[in-house]
């Protein structure tokens, strides 16, 4: 996969959605440890709505439109912190972009970097705060670093970076979300949102490698 066209975008986002829906129990368990145990439910619901949206989306060839629609469907169906945060990941980097029929890897990386920026602007979380930013930020860095090597390489690198990010959250005290009231008691547990980010990048990397 050299560039991402409308079909690819739909396929890749479908793969993300299915991976998250399959991981619903895992995400819920992870969130239950130090949060309120609903992360899997909210994410799966948002992904289902986004899948429904994709199924009805008219093919206008604009790749950004697919990401924006996917994010918007999440935003208007999920609620919760993750609704705004995770929808921004797809929506905020894609909205108001000029229509494109084929997205190359560097543009994709730029889109995701904008999403991350917006997430940090809204949520105020930085690296080390035990949130999904701890997975997304290194994943975006990796994408930028490997953008010239094409989708498969770039996304696998991002997936690995996200995995390391997830692992890094275990040692952290939370500064955002429900886990922050736990203070030191949160140490030893990974962040639920970061876990979702990793699952998403794994799905993207798999998709890119097989398409």
């Amino acid at each position: 996969m050299q560039t991402l066209n409308w079909q690819d975008a739909v396929g890749m986002l479908q793969a993300i959605a299915k991976a998250i829906i399959t991981s619903k129990p895992l995400l819920t368990d992870v969130d239950a440890k130090i949060g309120d145990g609903d992360h899997g439910i909210g994410m799966a619901k948002g992904m289902q709505k986004a899948l429904d949206k994709l199924a009805l989306l008219p093919n206008d060839s604009n790749v950004y439109g697919v990401f924006a629609a996917f994010g918007k469907a999440m935003l208007l169906s999920m609620g919760g912190a993750s609704g705004v945060i995770f929808s921004s990941m797809f929506l905020d980097g894609a909205k108001e972009q000029p229509a494109t029929e084929a997205l190359n890897a560097p543009s994709f990386a730029t889109m995701m970097a904008k999403g991350l920026q917006s997430i940090q602007a809204r949520g105020k979380a930085s690296i080390g705060d035990k949130t999904m930013v701890d997975a997304l930020s290194p994943a975006v860095d990796a994408m930028i670093a490997f953008a010239d090597d094409g989708y498969a390489t770039m996304l696998r690198a991002a997936e690995k970076a996200a995995a390391e990010g997830v692992a890094s959250t275990k040692a952290m005290v939370a500064r955002f979300g429900r886990a922050k009231s736990l203070m030191e008691r949160a140490i030893g547990f990974q962040d639920a949102g970061a876990t979702s980010v990793h699952i998403m990048f794994a799905a993207m990397a798999d998709y890119a490698e097989s398409h």
């Binding site: 309120d36 609903d38 609620g79 609704g83 705004v84 922050k180 009231s181 008691r185």
Partner: protein
């Protein structure tokens, strides 16, 4: 899967609201297409009070839409903030033209979604403001008030804000009065048993047979200590001490008290707690002006309770005393 009297875990909120609005149709109407509750006979020449948050805390939030209370509630999924689209629809339907105060618990999810909704409403020229309830003094130290969660004290915040709206104050002043209520409001709770989210395979936490979670949040967020169960009097003494350490009370002060059940704890136990709380307040020379005892802000069958104290000043007292009516909170005029 825990026993729940539901149909489909993915549709509990829609079905709950359908039943809720139908049961209280004299008072409420739906907001088409989204999960919200709208007061039928809302006044238009006043600031509109919109509350909301995750579902699963029934009767909070929708149960406190009423005369002298909130004008509308935006309801999220179980334990998840409503999305910005829902908040906007509900607020727009309720808006009486004098601006909207959003009142909700201080949680990352609620903050993000309500902020986005305010942005969207602002683009349409609607004046908005918000107050975030942060009464749980177990959820962060006093120097990090902005990090504290909102729990059952929401009830008092809604009562005061609703009365301030009814008094005809402009938006900025309604906000200021509500903030004053929060400055004088503290809560803390403990759990004896976890909540059970529809569709979730396991409870929100687990406790040994003699354990309690002290200072926990209303979504089952772990508290500040896992302790042993003790007598009602001992537990109440401990919670009261923690509140007054955070918000000192002096002889001669007047307070309103809320003993809130978290879901499965019988009213019997809440009254036994109140009995002790009252004795301690009396010992300290503090006068109890009003007391609410009940399961007003619940957590899906969670066992346990919280205590809230609202320290009154002349203004807060006047607004507290204003009559109000909802199926869950009715106050006759004094």
């Amino acid at each position: 899967m825990y026993k729940k009297i539901i149909n489909d875990p993915d549709h509990v909120v829609e079905e709950l609201l359908e039943g809720f609005i139908a049961a209280h149709a004299r008072y409420y109407e739906p907001v088409p297409g989204v999960n919200g509750v709208l007061l039928r006979q809302r006044r238009i020449s006043k600031v509109t009070l919109v509350v909301g948050g995750g579902s699963g805390h029934e009767p909070m939030f929708a149960g406190f839409v009423g005369r002298g209370l909130a004008d509308a509630a935006a309801c999220g999924n179980v334990f998840a903030s409503p999305d910005p689209g829902t908040i906007c629809e509900v607020a727009t339907a309720a808006h009486g033209g004098q601006g909207i105060l959003f009142l909700y618990g201080n949680y990352a999810g609620d903050n993000l979604n309500f902020d986005l909704a305010e942005e969207m409403l602002g683009e349409e020229g609607i004046a908005t403001a918000h107050v975030r309830v942060n009464d749980d003094c177990a959820s962060a130290p006093k120097d990090r008030m902005d990090d504290r969660r909102g729990i059952a004290g929401d009830l008092f915040a809604i009562k005061i804000a609703g009365a301030a709206c009814d008094a005809g104050l402009p938006l900025a002043q309604v906000k200021a009065v509500t903030e004053q209520a929060l400055a004088n409001l503290r809560s803390i709770g403990l759990a004896t048993a976890p909540g059970r989210i529809p569709g979730a395979a396991s409870p929100t936490f687990t406790l040994d047979a003699d354990e309690i979670e002290y200072g926990l949040g209303i979504h089952g967020e772990p508290g500040i200590q896992r302790s042993k169960l003790a007598s009602a009097d001992a537990l109440t003494t401990r919670l009261y001490a923690q509140i007054v350490a955070d918000m000192p009370l002096s002889a001669g002060d007047e307070v309103c008290v809320l003993v809130n059940g978290l879901g499965s704890t019988p009213a019997m136990e809440l009254y036994i707690v109140y009995r002790k709380l009252k004795a301690m307040l009396e010992t300290d020379g503090v006068r109890i002006h009003g007391a609410e005892i009940g399961s007003y802000c619940t957590s899906m069958e969670m066992g346990g309770f919280s205590i809230s104290l609202l320290k009154l000043d002349a203004q807060l007292k006047r607004y507290y005393d204003a009559p109000c009516y909802s199926p869950y909170y009715a106050k006759e005029g004094l």
